[in-house]
C-alpha cells in the first residue's frame, strides 16, 4: 500500500453551542496517498471545513471539541502534539487555503509580508530573504513581484486567492487543504486558478485535500472522491468509481441535481428535502428522510461500509457485498 | 517643604506642605485661597468682594473703615474738616508714595475721584460729590451737592481709591498692572490660577506696613477643595470656610479658626410692585412666618445670628424695636388682616448660589405652614442680577454689607428703587432718609437712623434673615489676623509667628 500523507480515523467533532450540540463530524474517516488529491464533496453543513480545520488543529474552541478519533500526518498522531509543535506543523507540513479570498488576508499588512511571515517562521530566514522568497512565490502564482508591497485591497478577488495560495505553498507543504478555493471566483478566473493549482501540485508533489461542492471541479483535478453527508463519508472511491459507478442514493441525487451542459433534455431530479438538523441527527442513516429508496432498517440502524472494490465503498443499506457489483456501469 | 524666597512663587515648586516650618527660617510667603477670580483689578470697574480684597492691597482711599470698630477713619488723609455743610477739606499725610516711586499728591486724589466719576458703576459713591479740587499738593477740597454725611464712608469705598494722575492721563491699564499706594505691590496674575503680590517697602503707614513679603492668592472655587488645600498645607489662609468644615478645623490645633459675626445681612427681597406683596400684611405674615433659627441651622450649620430688623445688626443706629419675631399665630393674624386666601400666594424666590438655595428651601418649608407656596428657583449669577435689575422677580435672597448704617437705610429711599429690592415708595421714609443724610452731626444722625429703622421694621419691605458667622481658617503660625465684621481682611497686618 502506498504511503499515506494523512489519515483520519473515526473523527468525531462537536460544536457545543448555546442552542445545542452540533454534531459536525460523526466518525469521519479519510486518507490521502502521497501526491494524490482527494475531493471532499458535500452540501453546506456537511462538515467539510470542520474536517480540514481538524487536521490543522484550528477548530474554534470553544465551542468546537474533538471528541474522539485519530488524525495521523505521515503516521504521526497530530492530536498528541502540543500547541508549539502544532505551530511548527501548520504552514509547513500542512497548509490550508480558505474559501473566501476577500477576508482571508490581513487588510493592513502588505501581501509580501504576509507571504514572508510563513517563510520566516518555518525556514528561519531573515526578513529581507524571506521577502525575496515571497516575491518569487508571487511570481510563481502569476503576480508581478513588484506588487508585493501592495495591500490586499489593491488586488482583485482572483489575485487575492492567488496570494492565499502563495502563502499556503510558500513552505512547500506535504499536504495542502484547499477549502472551496474557487467558489468565490468567476468561472474564467476559477479556471485560471484551478489550472495553476494543478500545475503547482504536480511541481511540488503535494497531496491535496480538495474541499468543494462542485462535482465539476472534482472531475477535473481529483484522483479520489469522498462524498460527505452529515459528518460521515457515505461514499468513497476513485473518480471512476464514484462518477461511473455511483452507488449511494445521495451521490446519485447530487448528480441528478446538476444541470448538465451535455444533455439538456431531461428535467432535473433534485433530492427532496434538506440536510437534517445537525443538532438532532436521525438515529439510523442520516440520509434516510430524503432517500427515495428508504427502508425500515434505514430509520433505525446505521448502515455499514460495503466495498464494491478495494477503492470504492458506500454506506447504505441498499447494498451488501453480493449486490453491490450488480449495477451496470453508466457513462456520464 | 519649605518656602521660596522668590517673590513670584508660581514657578512650580511651591507644592506640598509649606506650613510645616521646622524652626529657624521664617516663612516669607502667605498663600490665601480665593473663592473666585477677581473680575477686574481696576478700582472703579467692579463691585465684587474679591476685587475689593485685591484693591485693598494695592490702593488706599482718603478714608478707610477700621476693621475692628467699623468706624470710618482717615487713611491717606491726615485729617479732614467740614468747612460748612457742603464743603470738606482733606489734608494728606506725608511721604505717601505710589508703587512706581512717584509721590501721591492732592492732584492725584482729585484726578482719581474725577476719574471714578466717569465710571457709571461708581455713581452711588460719587454722585454726591459736586466738585473736587486740589488746593495745594497736600490739600483737597470737596464740595457736595447737598449736606451729605455719607461722604467719608463713600471715600473709603474702593471706587474712590487713589491712583497716580499721570497714569490716568496716559491711559494706563490698571487692570493688568495696578499702581497705587497700598501695602502690597502687584506682581503678576495668572488668569484662572493665582495672583501674586509683594510687600511695598515705602508704604506710608509704618504701622500697617506688610510684614509678610510675599502674598499669593490661589483661586479655588470649590469650598471643599479650599478646606482640603488648607489642611494639606497648600494654602495658609482661607477666608470662606464651608460651615460643614468648621468643627473639624476648630478641633485641629494646626489651624486657627476665627469667627466673626458679619454685618452682611441676608434677607428675602420682595418685589413690592407685585400683588399681593404690596400689601404690608402679607409681608408681615411672611416676616413672622420664617423661623430664622431653622434657616441658620440648615443653611449655615448653625453659624449665624438671626436678624428680624430692617438693618444689619451691629451698626450704630440698629434697633429691634417694632421688629418681627418668629410667631406663626401672629403671621396668621396678618394673613387674616389681609383677607385673601393664603394658598393663592405663590412666591418664587430666585437664588444665585447654593447657600441661598438652602435658605430659600427652609423658607419654603416654613411658609408652607401658612399655606403660602414658595418656589425655589436657582439661577446663575448673571440671570439673577439681570432679573433683579429688570424687576423681573417676586422674591430673591440677597445680602448686603454696607460700611455704615446710613448707607444701609439709604436703600429704603424711593429713588433707589431700580437697584435695591425693598425700596419703599414711602414719602415719609424718603423724607426721613434725606434728613438723616444731611445731618452731619454723628449722634444726631444716628438717632435719626434709629427712627428710620424702627419705622421700616414695621413695614417689612425686605425680610432680614440672618447675619452669618464668617470663618477665617488659617495656619496656627499666622499672627495678626484681624476680624472685621465687614468681611474685609487685612493681609498687611498678618505676620508669621
Amino acid at each position: 500500500m502506498a504511503e499515506k500523507t494523512i489519515e483520519i480515523k473515526d473523527l468525531v467533532v462537536e460544536y457545543r453551542t448555546r442552542s445545542g450540540v452540533v454534531q459536525a463530524l460523526n466518525g469521519l474517516s479519510l486518507s490521502i496517498e502521497k501526491g494524490k488529491t482527494l475531493g471532499l464533496v458535500g452540501e453546506t453543513g456537511a462538515g467539510k471545513t470542520t474536517a480540514g480545520l481538524a487536521v490543522l488543529g484550528l477548530i474554534p474552541s470553544p465551542p468546537g471539541v474533538i471528541v474522539s478519533g485519530e488524525i495521523l500526518l505521515n503516521g504521526k498522531d497530530l492530536r498528541a502534539l502540543t500547541d508549539k509543535e502544532m505551530d511548527q506543523i501548520r504552514g509547513d507540513a500542512v497548509a490550508m487555503i480558505f474559501q473566501d479570498p476577500m477576508t482571508s488576508l490581513n487588510p493592513v499588512m502588505t501581501v509580501g509580508d504576509q507571504i514572508a511571515e510563513a517563510i520566516k517562521i518555518h525556514e528561519g530566514l531573515n526578513h529581507g530573504d524571506a521577502l525575496k522568497k515571497a516575491e518569487e512565490m508571487l511570481e510563481m502564482v502569476g503576480i508581478p513581484r513588484e506588487r508585493a508591497k501592495e495591500y490586499p485591497h489593491q488586488f482583485s478577488g482572483g489575485m487575492k486567492q492567488r496570494v492565499v495560495i502563495a502563502i499556503a505553498l510558500s513552505c512547500t507543504p506535504g499536504l495542502l487543504i484547499a477549502d472551496e478555493p474557487t467558489t468565490a471566483l468567476d468561472v474564467t478566473i476559477q479556471a485560471q486558478v484551478l489550472e495553476m493549482m494543478k500545475g503547482l501540485k504536480e511541481k511540488y508533489e503535494m497531496s491535496m485535500l480538495m474541499i468543494t461542492h462542485d462535482l465539476g471541479i472534482v472531475a477535473e483535478i481529483c484522483d479520489e472522491v469522498s462524498v460527505v453527508y452529515a459528518g460521515r463519508v457515505v461514499e468513497h472511491g476513485t473518480l471512476a468509481d464514484v462518477f461511473d459507478n455511483t452507488r449511494h442514493p445521495y451521490t446519485e441525487g447530487l448528480f441528478n441535481s446538476l444541470p448538465n451542459i451535455e444533455n439538456q433534455a431531461e428535467k432535473l431530479k433534485p433530492i427532496r428535502g434538506l440536510m437534517p438538523d445537525p443538532t438532532d441527527l436521525p438515529l439510523g442513516c442520516p440520509f434516510y428522510p430524503r432517500c427515495d429508496h428508504a427502508m425500515e432498517i434505514c430509520r433505525t440502524k446505521k448502515p455499514p461500509k460495503v466495498y464494491r472494490n478495494e477503492t470504492h465503498f458506500v454506506e447504505c443499506h441498499l447494498y451488501n457485498e453480493q449486490n453491490i457489483g450488480d449495477k451496470e456501469e453508466k457513462w456520464r | 517643604g519649605c518656602s521660596t524666597k522668590n517673590p513670584a512663587p508660581s514657578d512650580g515648586e511651591t507644592v506640598g506642605a509649606q506650613n510645616e516650618e521646622s524652626g529657624g527660617e521664617k516663612k516669607d510667603t502667605l498663600t490665601v485661597a480665593l473663592t473666585s477670580e477677581p473680575p477686574s483689578l481696576t478700582t472703579c470697574d467692579h463691585d465684587s468682594i474679591v476685587g475689593v480684597y485685591m484693591n485693598l492691597l494695592t490702593y488706599n482711599g482718603l478714608m478707610r473703615v477700621d476693621h475692628e470698630t467699623l468706624e470710618v477713619v482717615p487713611d491717606l488723609a491726615e485729617s479732614y474738616t467740614v468747612e460748612n455743610e457742603t464743603e470738606w477739606t482733606f489734608v494728606l499725610k506725608d511721604g505717601i508714595k505710589f508703587h512706581d516711586g512717584s509721590d501721591c499728591t492732592a492732584q492725584d486724589v482729585a484726578a482719581s475721584i474725577e476719574w471714578a466719576k466717569t465710571f457709571p458703576g461708581s455713581a452711588n459713591y460719587t454722585r454726591n460729590i459736586k466738585t473736587i479740587e486740589a488746593v495745594d499738593d497736600k490739600t483737597v477740597k470737596i464740595v457736595t451737592e447737598v449736606p451729605y454725611a455719607g461722604l467719608p464712608a463713600d471715600l473709603a469705598y474702593h471706587y474712590n481709591f487713589i491712583v497716580p494722575e499721570e497714569l490716568i492721563e496716559s491711559g494706563h491699564d490698571f487692570n493688568s498692572e495696578p499702581v497705587g499706594t497700598g501695602p502690597y505691590k502687584f506682581v503678576s496674575w495668572q488668569y484662572g490660577d493665582s495672583l501674586n503680590f509683594v510687600g511695598f517697602e515705602e508704604y506710608f503707614d509704618a504701622e500697617r506696613k506688610a510684614s509678610i513679603p510675599n502674598l499669593v492668592f490661589k483661586i479655588i472655587p470649590e469650598g471643599t477643595s479650599r478646606t482640603i488645600a488648607l489642611e494639606a498645607g497648600e494654602v495658609d489662609f482661607v477666608y470662606d470656610v464651608p460651615s460643614a468644615d468648621v468643627e473639624r478645623l476648630k478641633s485641629d490645633e494646626k489651624f486657627e479658626v476665627k469667627e466673626i459675626t458679619s454685618v452682611e445681612n441676608f434677607f428675602l427681597g420682595i418685589n413690592l410692585e407685585k400683588e399681593p406683596f404690596n400689601d404690608v400684611n402679607v409681608r408681615q405674615a411672611i416676616n413672622y412666618g420664617i423661623n430664622r433659627e431653622d434657616v441658620i441651622a440648615a443653611a449655615l450649620n448653625g453659624y449665624g445670628a438671626s436678624n428680624y430688623t430692617a438693618i444689619a445688626m451691629g451698626y450704630e443706629g440698629d434697633t429691634d424695636a417694632g421688629a418681627a419675631v418668629y410667631d406663626l399665630d401672629k403671621a396668621k393674624e396678618y394673613l387674616d388682616k389681609w383677607g385673601g386666601d393664603p394658598s393663592s400666594i405663590v412666591l418664587p424666590i430666585i437664588c444665585s448660589n447654593e447657600t441661598k438655595v438652602a435658605v430659600a428651601t427652609v423658607i419654603q418649608s416654613n411658609l408652607s405652614k401658612l399655606g403660602i407656596q414658595v418656589e425655589v428657583v436657582s439661577t446663575d449669577t448673571a440671570t439673577y442680577f439681570a432679573d433683579w435689575e429688570a424687576g423681573n422677580y417676586t422674591g430673591l435672597i440677597s445680602s448686603w454689607s454696607p460700611s455704615n448704617s446710613l448707607t444701609y437705610v439709604q436703600r429704603y429711599h424711593s429713588d433707589r428703587a431700580l437697584t435695591y429690592p425693598g425700596s419703599l415708595k414711602d414719602e415719609e421714609v424718603d423724607k426721613m432718609v434725606r434728613d438723616a443724610e444731611s445731618t452731619i452731626d454723628d449722634t444726631e444722625r444716628i438717632g435719626k437712623i434709629k427712627t428710620i429703622v424702627e419705622t421700616v421694621n414695621g413695614l417689612a419691605p425686605q425680610i432680614s434673615l440672618y447675619q452669618p458667622l464668617m470663618f477665617r481658617a488659617y495656619s496656627a503660625d499666622l499672627g495678626g489676623v484681624t476680624a472685621s465684621a465687614t468681611g474685609y481682611v487685612g493681609f498687611n497686618d498678618m505676620y508669621w509667628k
Partner: protein, 308 residues
C-alpha cells in the same frame, strides 16, 4: 494626503461658522443686558443706551453676528464683558492648561486602556478579564466630580502625595488627569476588548494561524492593528468627552483651564468669552478628529487609498 488635510481643514470653516452662529444665537436667549453687565449697577439708562449703541447691541442679531465674524477673521475675538480684557488673550492664556491636561489624561488613558483591553480579550472570561472589565464599568459609571473629590481625599489629604489644586509641576497633573481620564480609559478598554474579540474571529487570523503563526503573534501582529480601528474612533469621541469633562475636573482641582473659564463666563453672561471658549474647544476637537482620521489612514491602507 496633503489635499485631504487641506480639504478637512477647510471643512472646519463651516463648522466654526455654525458653532459660533449657534452659540451666538443661544446666548441671545439668555437674560441679561451686555451693556448693563459691562457698566455694572448704578449706570443710568442713558449710559446703558449709549454703550448699547456703541457696542452695536441695537443692531439686528445677524448684523452683530456678521460683525463678530468679521472681527473674528482678523483674530479679534472681542472683549470680555466680565474682565474687559481681550477674549483672545484670556482664552489663549488658559488654553494650554486644558490642552496639557487633556493630552496627559488622553495619552495616559490610552496607554493604559489599550493593553488592558487586549489582555482582557486574550484572557477572555478569566479573572483578569472580569476584574478589568469591572474596573472599566466603574469608570464609565462614576460621576467625574465625585471621583475627583474622592481622589483628592485619598491621595492629597490622607497620603499627601499630590497637590489638592493648581497647576504647577507634574505632580499636580496626576489627580486631575486620573479623574478626567478614568472614564475614557474605561470606554477605550472596553472597546479595545470587544474589537479584539471581534478581530480574532476574522478569517485572516485563521489564515495566519494556518501558516504557523503562534497564537500570541497572531494576536499581536495581526489582530492588534485591525482591532485598533474601532478603538481609534472611540479615542476620538472620548477626546471630546475629555474637553467636556474638563469643565468639572477643572472646577474641583482649581485648574486654570478653559473649561472653568467657560463655566465662569456662562454664569456671568460673558458672551464673547463663551464664544471664544467654544470656538477654541471646537477647533481643538475638530483638529483632534482630523488627527484621528489621519491615524486611520496610517493604520488602515484601505483608508489611505481613499484619501490619496
Amino acid at each position: 494626503m496633503i489635499k485631504f488635510i487641506i480639504r478637512r481643514l477647510l471643512s472646519l470653516i463651516p463648522v466654526i461658522l455654525g458653532v459660533t452662529f449657534f452659540v451666538f444665537m443661544v446666548m441671545q436667549l439668555a437674560p441679561g443686558d451686555a451693556a448693563k453687565l459691562l457698566l455694572g449697577e448704578g449706570a443710568t439708562q442713558e449710559q446703558v443706551e449709549e454703550l448699547r449703541e456703541e457696542m452695536g447691541l441695537n443692531d439686528p442679531v445677524i448684523v452683530q453676528y456678521v460683525r463678530y465674524m468679521v472681527n473674528f477673521c482678523k483674530g479679534d475675538l472681542g472683549t470680555s464683558y466680565a474682565t474687559k480684557r481681550p477674549v483672545a488673550d484670556e482664552v489663549f492664556s488658559r488654553f494650554p492648561y486644558t490642552f496639557n491636561l487633556s493630552i496627559v489624561a488622553g495619552i495616559v488613558s490610552i496607554l493604559l486602556a489599550i493593553p488592558l483591553g487586549i489582555l482582557a480579550a486574550v484572557k477572555q472570561n478569566t479573572f483578569f478579564d472580569n476584574i478589568s472589565m469591572v474596573i472599566s464599568l466603574v469608570g464609565v459609571s462614576m460621576p467625574i466630580f465625585w471621583l475627583a473629590l474622592l481622589l483628592v481625599l485619598a491621595f492629597s489629604l490622607n497620603l499627601g502625595w499630590f497637590p489638592v489644586q493648581g497647576a504647577d509641576g507634574w505632580k499636580s497633573y496626576v489627580l486631575p488627569a486620573i479623574s478626567l481620564g478614568f472614564m475614557n480609559m474605561a470606554s477605550i478598554a472596553r472597546t479595545t476588548r470587544s474589537s479584539m474579540l471581534e478581530t480574532v474571529r476574522q478569517d485572516y487570523i485563521r489564515t495566519a494561524r494556518a501558516k504557523g503563526v503562534p497564537k500570541r503573534d497572531a494576536i499581536v501582529k495581526h489582530a492588534f492593528e485591525n482591532a485598533l480601528i474601532p478603538t481609534i474612533t472611540v479615542c476620538g469621541i472620548q477626546l471630546g468627552q475629555l474637553l467636556g469633562g474638563s469643565v468639572l475636573t477643572e472646577t474641583v482641582f482649581a485648574w486654570p483651564g478653559i473649561g472653568r473659564l467657560m463655566v465662569q463666563s456662562i454664569s456671568s453672561r460673558d458672551v464673547p468669552m463663551v464664544l471664544g471658549c467654544m470656538v477654541v474647544m471646537t477647533v481643538c476637537f475638530s483638529v483632534v478628529n482630523l488627527l484621528v482620521d489621519l491615524l486611520y489612514a496610517f493604520v488602515d491602507p484601505r483608508i489611505k487609498a481613499m484619501y490619496s
